[in-house]
């Protein structure tokens, strides 16, 4: 049900075009709505959304609004129109949007249309005693954390991927499903083509050991040296931005850092990575960090538990060999103990 004009704005409205992130937003949305004693509404845009809507209700939404565009035209313009319409109809106190590239564009443009503030990439969100939405977010490349109060109505925030667990399903929960249509202006952006970039089969966020390669590697074929170390450690191979974006020696989903992924492995080995802050924020949560870098002044050494100041072309193969050697001896000892 829509809020009436005389009511003060209340409740939380969530939206992400990414279904996983949309479920994760329900966790934050539920916590904030509980604090505000208010309703959690989630917006979905597209067609055939019934099943997802029921899932959202089981995971904590009070209402799922299904917005069906006149044609199946995805993209920022459609999402923005649907979200803007939902804000006007439901008058939420807070709007949470998933921090994809499209999501940030939509949230920012919604903020400008409504003349309100938006905090992007919130790591945590809470309501303070003045009723403001207070977010923690990274600043200055990630070396610092900022606490930012958004006092706008509605207060908009975007939430990154995999920051929160989707709430568990409770099949006894009841909620409303509302279907609406949205009006769209003629498209200003015409899609010419959509191509998928190469993707890796493996998710580096799930690896217990991550070995990352940086610009210290001179040629594409030398990435294999670092890959061999990753194999010897039973870990995943990742890279710094120059390797994934500029040189494209690894797929983009292997990038660690501010504009890439955040990993929390038990062991992280940086090979030929300088340790610029935008990289470091992606690996800071690792339990143990090893840095291999020939420059004793490289900032990565300050972020490491164990530093090797030396040429990775010598150290990395030696380390891989020592690991293989150690494992062979261990295997031999195990076999012996069984005889």
């Amino acid at each position: 049900m829509s809020g009436r004009a005389e009511d003060a704005p209340s409740g939380v409205l969530t939206f992400s075009e990414n279904p996983d992130l949309a479920s994760e937003l329900l966790a934050v949305g539920r916590a904030l709505a509980a604090g505000a004693g208010a309703k959690l509404t989630t917006l979905m845009v597209g067609s055939a959304l019934r099943e997802r809507a029921e899932d959202a209700i089981a995971r904590g939404a009070d209402e799922a609004v299904l917005a069906c565009p006149p044609d199946t035209r995805p993209g920022a313009e459609t999402y923005l129109a649907a979200l803007h319409a939902a804000v006007l109809a439901h008058r939420p106190a807070m709007v949470l949007v998933g921090s994809t590239r499209t999501g940030v564009e939509v949230a920012a443009r919604l903020g400008q249309r409504l003349r309100v503030g938006c905090v992007t990439d919130a790591l945590s969100l809470e309501i303070d005693d003045t009723g403001a939405l207070v977010a923690t977010r990274r600043m200055y490349g990630g070396q610092f954390l900022a606490r930012v109060a958004n006092r706008s109505t509605p207060a908009i925030a975007t939430v990154p991927w995999k920051r929160f667990e989707p709430p568990p399903r409770d099949d006894d929960r009841r909620g409303t499903i509302t279907e609406t249509t949205i009006q769209l202006p003629p498209p200003r952006l015409r899609t010419v083509a959509i191509q998928q970039r190469p993707r890796s089969a493996l998710d580096i966020r799930k690896a217990a050991v991550v070995v990352a390669v940086g610009r210290g590697v001179k040629r594409q074929e030398d990435v294999a040296l670092v890959e061999a170390l990753a194999e010897a450690l039973g870990g995943a191979l990742a890279g710094s931005r120059p390797i994934t974006d500029d040189l494209r020696w690894l797929p983009p989903d292997r990038k660690i850092g501010l504009s890439g992924l955040t990993v929390r492995p038990s062991l992280y080995v940086a090979c030929g990575i300088s340790g610029q802050i935008e990289h470091v924020v992606g690996m800071r949560a690792a339990r143990t960090v090893v840095a291999i870098n020939s420059d004793p002044t490289a900032p990565i050494h300050a972020e490491a538990d164990y530093s090797v100041v030396g040429d990775l072309y010598a150290i990395v193969p030696a380390l891989a060999a020592a690991l293989r050697d150690g494992r062979q001896r261990q295997a031999a000892a195990t076999i012996e103990s069984l005889q």
């Binding site: 600043m139 900022a146 970039r197 050494h301 164990y306 030396g310």
Partner: protein, 275 residues
């Protein structure tokens, strides 16, 4: 479009930011030591400027830079932006320029772009170029917000772009996808480090930079309206550096094999080599 019908009127939004890699926490408070900060042109804005220069080389036209500044940036940075290919640089002073409130920044930038186009340059912009985000806040809001405020189409995260007559064609990188789009000008385009590699200016360009105009606008000149409309929406409550608890041990030895053996032994005793 400008008079000739094919030349481009391009505005590039530029932020002079702190160099985040040279910013240290104050040991006593863990807050950023902004008093000793070094400044630079935001990385992605250098890509935006380079892209503007490439478009101008192909199509002709004029490039102006617009920057919202809390205080006058170091002169060498202004000259650097001019040497990279700006024809003129407009500075708009505003007390909230460094506050990181994208609503305020975008509202004033949009008002300044309109004023500069109408009054100083006598053009309507074909293209406004911005960086995808700035390296200090990494927020990504200003480009799309300025487009919204100006009522022009935003093309975010463009990695390649070209203009044909009055049509812009761009490749965007959206997570795992390359999205090729086209739109009729005017448009606002945001770019990042994948878009191009900024060239170093020639000696000639460096020498010419000193003769190019730097125009200092006042926000009062933008009309009370712009300022009233740009009230703060966010409040920065505090900024601190979380402490680092790394051991910072240098593993040395007699050649690579010895170092490798010592490191493996250490990791084994830490319990990090379980598999």
């Amino acid at each position: 479009m400008t008079e000739a019908g094919s030349e481009l009127a391009i505005a590039v939004c530029i932020k002079f930011t702190v160099d985040v890699n040279r910013l240290r926490p104050d040991p006593a408070t863990a807050a950023p030591d902004l008093g000793h900060a070094h400044y630079r042109i935001n990385d992605f804005d250098e890509n935006a400027l380079e892209e503007a220069v490439r478009l101008k080389e192909r199509h002709g036209g004029r490039i102006v830079g617009v920057s919202l500044v809390e205080r006058e940036p170091p002169r060498e940075l202004l000259l650097r932006a001019l040497a990279a290919g700006l024809d003129a640089l407009y500075l708009v002073p505003h007390a909230a320029a460094a506050s990181g409130d994208a609503f305020v920044t975008a509202t004033i930038l949009a008002a300044a772009l309109e004023e500069i186009g109408a009054v100083y340059e006598m053009v309507s912009w074909d293209l406004v170029l911005c960086g995808d985000a700035s390296c200090d806040t990494y927020d990504g809001q200003v480009g799309p917000r300025v487009a919204e405020a100006l009522g022009i189409v935003p093309i975010t995260y463009a990695t390649r772009l070209d203009v044909r007559d009055d049509t812009i064609v761009a490749e965007r990188t959206i997570e795992d996808y390359v999205h090729v789009v086209e739109a009729t000008l005017p448009a606002l385009v945001t770019v990042g480090s994948e878009t191009n590699k900024p060239r170093l200016p020639h000696l000639r360009q460096i020498m010419d930079a000193g003769r190019k105009p730097i125009v200092r606008l006042t926000t009062a000149g933008l009309g009370r309206g712009a300022l009233d409309r740009a009230r703060a929406t966010l409040e920065l409550l505090g900024v601190t550096a979380p402490p680092s608890a790394r051991r910072r041990m240098v593993v040395g030895g007699n050649g690579p094999d010895d170092v490798a053996r010592k490191l493996v032994r250490q990791l084994q005793s830490d319990g990090e080599l379980t598999q």
